[in-house]
Symmetry: C2
Subunit: 347 residues, 2 copies
């Protein structure tokens, strides 16, 4: 086995002692509160001081400027601002972020953020991050450490990612937050996130708009129950936030919307011609089976079989990417070389 580059000998599991958070909104605030609750030292900066009093009561240290945050030498600096604010934040960070600090973010698209990071020359310090959690609310007042209960993080890497920095962010995720992670390349992340989040946000919004413009809206809205409420919940998200997320992932989202529209037109045609709808309903069966496995696994979490993945100094990136492709999640690192993974349901 080759020695792993860029890593301290051991232990690697407490490398993210001090965490700086840029933006104390729903996600940044929840992240900060969770980390504080689990014993990490957290310093936050927000573009207005409005949440500072509440943040300080929650044990979060605050500073007056982004520059001060960076100069305080956090082990990890997390960008938790809206996507559209990131380029400005990165430009201000580039001249002041210490070499030893690792930069990550919680943005819902990863390719565009990496480009912005590269544009200001911070690629060597960057590991992309995306916690799969959130809700339709926003602001520190809506923050909740439990938002990170059993959340899965996608950590995104490319050929320039430093393994030691990857482990430092992994420490924040696993030990700092009690979460799990998978390792992805930006392209796979952005296509997958488009499929299970960005495109559905657009569909939800289109459903809400369809009702809003419908002559029967008054009666229909009165009749709306669980199915409608669930399908339109994310349409209640701040539209500027959703729009930014969708705009940064345009090509993937547009292609999926075309594909879904074509499927809906297809079912409509089958209905109009009186064709058998059986094949359409059958086509979702693998998903029903997948979810049934997943719910069964949740009922019996103790039966999750842990397996070890011995990581190689040169091959760690490909090994971890392959682990994710096979539906596995990293639950911890027992050492620099030894990741412990569990399987999800397969299909």
């Amino acid at each position: 086995m080759h020695p792993l580059p860029g890593t301290a000998a051991s232990p690697i599991l407490t490398s993210a002692h001090k965490i700086g958070i840029v933006g104390l909104g729903l996600i940044g605030g929840s992240l900060a509160r969770r980390l504080v609750g689990r014993g990490r030292f957290v310093v936050g900066w927000n573009h207005t001081t409005a949440p500072y009093a509440a943040a300080q009561r929650a044990g979060i240290h605050t500073v007056d400027s982004l520059e001060e945050l960076a100069q305080g030498k956090p082990d990890v600096l997390v960008l938790a601002t809206p996507l559209k604010a990131m380029p400005e934040m990165l430009e201000r960070l580039a001249p002041v972020l210490p070499k030893a600090s690792t930069l990550t973010d919680v943005g819902s698209v990863k390719g565009p953020v990496r480009e912005q990071v590269a544009a200001v020359g911070l690629s060597d310090r960057y590991v992309g991050g995306h916690p799969m959690t959130g809700n339709e609310h926003s602001g520190f007042a809506a923050s909740d450490p439990n938002l990170f209960d059993s959340a899965l993080w996608a950590l995104c890497v490319d050929e320039s990612t430093d393994y030691g920095r990857f482990l430092t962010v992994a420490d924040m995720v696993i030990q700092g937050l009690g979460d799990q992670l998978i390792c992805l390349d930006d392209g796979t992340h952005d296509r997958s996130a488009a499929l299970i989040s960005h495109m559905p946000h657009v569909v939800s919004t289109a459903l809400a708009a369809l009702l809003a413009g419908h002559p029967d809206r008054q009666v229909a809205a009165a009749l709306a129950a669980g199915s409608w409420r669930d399908m339109t919940r994310v349409a209640l998200t701040d539209p500027e936030r959703t729009r930014a997320m969708v705009e940064e992932d345009r090509p993937n989202v547009a292609a999926l919307l075309r594909e879904l529209a074509s499927r809906l037109d297809g079912v409509a045609a089958e209905m109009e011609s009186g064709a058998d709808l059986g094949p359409f309903f059958d086509s979702a069966q693998p998903f029903r089976d997948y979810r049934a496995c997943q719910m069964e696994a949740k009922r019996t979490p103790d039966h999750e079989l842990e397996e070890e993945l011995i990581l190689d100094g040169h091959g760690w990136r490909e090994q971890l990417l392959d682990s994710a492709r096979r539906g596995r999640r990293i639950v911890r690192f027992d050492s620099v070389h030894r990741a412990i993974e569990v399987s999800g349901p397969n299909w």
Copy 2:
């Protein structure tokens, strides 16, 4: 004011003493348990006796045949079978259902059920019913009286509907279940239900199928969080049940799917051309405002202003239909002539 036809003098609020339920599945079972819990006498029949022991433990009387159920002279007989079983049930009920029994159902489409009722000559005894509740599970084992907490019922009438029978079913809904109701014609119901339930079930299924067939499904499914879970929950419903519901409302559902597909293609085109997505996200704003009003009203239910609606012997149908069109719900009848209604949010 004209005297109201077909009604006892008073009180009208306890006219549904004995309730017969055909089909003890998720909805029939939950309905029966809720009615028993609130003091009504409930007799059930199911096509297999599998749920009988559990039903009896829940205080539900059971009989060996549909005919016996009818001959027991229930004040209200509720058809709670799958839609596809209704024609056979109705054929068997027609020769044995006593004149004094009022027939209703819980089917998710109302026009086709009324046609089936007419085909067996039971129109004079029928009031259509659809409780806006349910979930993705099925069977008596999944039944839960709380499924009817704050449920809204659509009671569907036409020019032949007897007012006394309408009040009897209203008694079951309001006093028997603690629920509220609105009065609709079948066409408005079926269009509205297509909009907020039947079409969204198809969209949810199409989303699930899109994921199931996608090359990135393993990673995407691992990343799936709240937004995806909510949008695909109803795709987990027994596909035969969803299919029957959708098939009975084909023209409405197909037209809405075409409309949604066209909107999704439109947004995709805007994304591809780099157009401003602002107007698309703005188009859902009336729905966000409506839901904000609705949630505010839920936080302060005591502030709901009750208004009385004095019903006229000849005009009751049009008066109640108009009440629903204005977004109002009937919370009780203080007498045969006096309905008490509350407003929902307007848009």
